[in-house]
Symmetry: D3
Subunit: 62 residues, 6 copies
């Protein structure tokens, strides 16, 4: 079965950071789970500051 990551991140990451994240997460997951790299999928959901909250406070207000 495909191993799948959903990363929920704040907006503002560079393409280079996303490129490295996909590469490293895939490599490490395949190593740890003895799986093939082409069975690993990564999905990044970028969330704006007005759409997340921690401990009752909106990101926008932090």
């Amino acid at each position: 079965m495909t191993k799948r990551y959903h990363d929920n991140l704040s907006q503002g990451r560079t393409v280079e950071q996303k490129r490295e994240l996909v590469k490293v997460l895939t490599k490490e997951t395949a190593r740890i789970l003895n799986a093939k790299e082409d069975a690993v999928r990564v999905l990044i959901y970028e969330v704006s500051k007005e759409n997340w909250g921690n401990a009752g406070v909106l990101g926008l207000d932090m």
Copy 2:
């Protein structure tokens, strides 16, 4: 463990509504589950009318 909400909402809510949603959901969850408020995370995914459907009909066509 962190209690986490993913709210799927139609686009068009005000920041003030989101602010209150995060505040109230966090407070009530901590009360009901005897947890600390700083263990509660809220994530809001806004979905446009062309990206959801109920009973076989696209939101755009309702």
Copy 3:
């Protein structure tokens, strides 16, 4: 559109806590978003201690 909550919770909550969580989340969401209660859905995913981690440590080891 239906407003939908996915609550990720540690295992071990009582049915009574879940009943109250569904009731209160639905009522407060409908109030805050001026929506009807029958447009609100709640889904609870229970996660065992060996299946979540915070700050690099497995729940089981906390």
Copy 4:
């Protein structure tokens, strides 16, 4: 209970494709699961090429 689909798709699909996807998924699900069509919800998350990766490579670089 509501049957719910979350479709993760690359950006770039037409409204007409989404309309047909919602209609057909709903009809077939209701048939296969002996459920009512109005108990089926479909949510489409569109993901840009810089936010997904297969086998360690970013969509943008494929």
Copy 5:
């Protein structure tokens, strides 16, 4: 990019229903989106009656 379905279903479906659901969803999605069938993944999350609620009422109490 891989098209991915997350189906949230009440517990109690037969393996035969799941087999047909995976087959039909994959075939129809590939047709509608002009994609290859091997780019389609389906994930089924089964939810017990005490872990979902509609319109403020727990599934268990319906």
Copy 6:
């Protein structure tokens, strides 16, 4: 904001594999995104072979 992973994995991984997965994913994410490790959460959803399908075929039948 908290960076959050949802890993969808086939059942059958050892606790030791999950422990290492949480540790390595957290460390690498914090490094790549210049974030603190305690802002990283990992959630593992284990899916049985009858609840996932690739290219139209149920995991059970592969």
